[in-house]
C-alpha cells in the first residue's frame, strides 16, 4: 500500500478504536456560532472584494445526466470570461464536469488559467469496486483533468470501516499523480457533525488536498455549520502538522450573500491564508450569475435582472 503523508498527532488513523479521541462537536454551539458569523454586516468595499474573490474561487460546475459537449463548451467559455460585457471580471478557478466531458472542457479552456476538474470514483454514490474507481481516476487525469473530485464510500464509513475509506483515498491520491485531489464527504449522508469531523480528519490524513462538503445531489449540502466543522478540522490539522488543506463547500450556495457568509466563516476560522483559490473553492453553478449581478449593481447603482445574464 502507498505511504500516506504524515498524520496529525493524536489522529492516528486508520486505527478505528482511536477515532473517538478526535473529540466531538457541540451541535448547539457550532450552529450558534455559524449563525452569528452569518449575520455580520459587510460594507461596500469589502463586499466588492469578497465577490471578486468568490468569482476567482468558483468551480463552475455542471453535473447532470443531460450534459452535452455543447453545454460544457458554453460553460467553459463562461468560466474563462464570466461577464462578456465586463472584461474586469476575473476568470473562475475551474470548471467541474463528468469524466466523459473532460476532453471537451480541456479543449475549451486551453490558453487560460482556468483548470479542469472532474468528478470520479463512481460519483455521486461511490458504490463501485476500487479498481473501477482507480481506472476512472487514471482516465480523467490522462485526458487532462488538473483536479479530481472523488467521493468517499459513505456506506463503508457509516458501517465503521474507516480503514477501507482511508485506503481508498490513499489509492486514489496515488492514481491522481500530479492532479489535485478533492475528497467529497457528502456530509448530508453522514448524519452527525461528529461524523463530519471524523470524515474530515480521515480524508486529510489520507492525503486529500481539499475536503469538500457535498456532491450537490442531496438537498442538505454545504450548510454553514457543516462548513464550520470542516474548517475547524482543517485548522486543527494545520496547528498540529503545519499542513494546509483546502476546503470546498458545494451544493446549495446559490447567491452572493451566502458566498460572502462562507468567506466570513473562513476568515474567522482559518484566517486570511485560506482566502485564495489555491485553498478555497466554491462548487456552484447558479452562484456565479448572482455574483455577476451583484457586481454590476455595485458598478451601475441599479438593481439587476436575470433577464440580462446568461441562462446556463
Amino acid at each position: 500500500m502507498a505511504q500516506a503523508p504524515a498524520l496529525p498527532t493524536g489522529f492516528e488513523l486508520p486505527l478505528e478504536p482511536r477515532l473517538p479521541r478526535i473529540g466531538s462537536i457541540d451541535q448547539v454551539a457550532i450552529e450558534e456560532r455559524a449563525g452569528t458569523l452569518a449575520k455580520r454586516s459587510i460594507k461596500r468595499e469589502s463586499k466588492v472584494f469578497a465577490l471578486e474573490l468568490a468569482v476567482r474561487m468558483t468551480d463552475l460546475t455542471t453535473l447532470e445526466g443531460a450534459d452535452t459537449p455543447g453545454k460544457v463548451a458554453a460553460l467553459a467559455s463562461k468560466a474563462v470570461r464570466p461577464d462578456p460585457s465586463d472584461p474586469g471580471i476575473p476568470s473562475v478557478a475551474a470548471v467541474c464536469v463528468y469524466p466523459n466531458l473532460v476532453p471537451t472542457a480541456v479543449e475549451r479552456v486551453r490558453g487560460s488559467d482556468v483548470k479542469v476538474a472532474s468528478v470520479a470514483t463512481a460519483f455521486p454514490s461511490g458504490q463501485s469496486p476500487l479498481e473501477a474507481k482507480l481506472d476512472e481516476v487514471r482516465w480523467v487525469v490522462e485526458h487532462g483533468a488538473d483536479e479530481v473530485d472523488m467521493v468517499i464510500d459513505r456506506g463503508a464509513f457509516l458501517a465503521g470501516r474507516y480503514a477501507k475509506v482511508y485506503d481508498e483515498i490513499v489509492r486514489v491520491k496515488e492514481a491522481c499523480g500530479d492532479a489535485h485531489l478533492k475528497v467529497i464527504l457528502e456530509t448530508g449522508e453522514l448524519g452527525t457533525y461528529d461524523n463530519v469531523r471524523r470524515a474530515s480528519l480521515l480524508a486529510m490524513a489520507a492525503g486529500g488536498d481539499f475536503i469538500k462538503t457535498s456532491t450537490g445531489k442531496l438537498p442538505s449540502a454545504a450548510t454553514l455549520p457543516v462548513a464550520l466543522v470542516m474548517l475547524e478540522a482543517i485548522r486543527d490539522v494545520y496547528e498540529e502538522t503545519g499542513r494546509r488543506v483546502g476546503f470546498k463547500p458545494a451544493g446549495g450556495i446559490r447567491n452572493a450573500k451566502q458566498a460572502v457568509q462562507h468567506l466570513v466563516l473562513v476568515h474567522e476560522t482559518v484566517g486570511v491564508d485560506w482566502l485564495t483559490p489555491d485553498l478555497y473553492r466554491f462548487g456552484a453553478s447558479s452562484l456565479l450569475n448572482d455574483i455577476l449581478m451583484q457586481l454590476r449593481k455595485e458598478k451601475t447603482g441599479r438593481y439587476q435582472s436575470p433577464d440580462y445574464f446568461t441562462i446556463d
Binding site: 447603482g301 441599479r302 438593481y303 439587476q304 435582472s305 436575470p306 433577464d307 440580462y308
Partner: protein
Amino acid sequence: MSRLPVRKTYKLFIGGEFPRSESGRTYEAEGQNVARASRKDVRDAVRAARGAFGKWSGMTAYNRGQVLYRIAEMMEARRAEFANFCSGPKEVERSIDRVVWYAGWADKLAQVLGSSNPVAGPYFNFTVPEPTGVVGILAPPEPALLGLVSRVAPAIVGGNSVVVVASEPHPLAAVELAEVLATADVPGGVVNILTGRLEELAPVLAGHMDVNALDVSGADGEVAELERLAAENVKRVVRGDADDQSPWEIAGFLELKTVWHPIGV
C-alpha cells in the same frame, strides 16, 4: 375597567407579509409613524413581485377577475375603516365600485384589445394581449384611496404584478388596502406596497432592471430623470390620472403579441 388599546404599527406589505422597513426607519404622516422604506425594501419588493408574476399571469383570466371581485368584497367589509383614511364614505364607495368594474374586464380584455388580422396568405394571424411583467407604480398623492385603486387595479387585472409606492402624505389608506389584499386570495407578491419618501424610492424603482413598466402618475411635475432611468431597460412609462377608469388604462400595461398559424393544419 379601563384597558390599554392595542396600537397599530404601520408596516410595509411585501410578498404577502407585513415587515418593517429593513432600515428600521419611520416617518410621520397623518399623525402616525409609518414605515419609511429603503432601497433594499424596493429590491425585496421587486423580487417578491417577480416571484409572483408567473403564477398570477398564468392564472385564467376568469380566475383573476374572481380575485379582484374578492378584493372588492373585503373592501366592502371595511368601509368604515377606509372612510377614516380618505375623504369619506363617498370615495370608499367609488373605489370599491372601481375594483368591481376592473374585475369584470379580466376575461374581456383579449376580445376587445386582441384581434384576428386578415393577412395576404393562407394563415391565421392573431394579436393577443399579454401582461408586461413587474410594474412599478408611484401612486397619486390624492385622493388617497381612489387614486391608489385607480392605478393598481388596471395593472393587476391584466396579469402584471406590482410594486406600489404609496402616497407620501396619505399612506394609511394604502396600508389598510394591504390588510384587504392579504385576506382576499391575492397571491403573495402580486401587490407589494411601500410607504416612505417618494423622492428616495422613485429613482430606485425607475432604475431597477427587473421592473418592466413604470406608472409615474404620482410623481410631481418633473419626471424626465425618472424616464431617463427607466430607459436603460426600455421600461414602458405610463402617466395616468388619479381618477381614470377605462380599458385603455389596462392596455397601458399590456404587450400585444402577434402569432401566425397556417390554415388547414
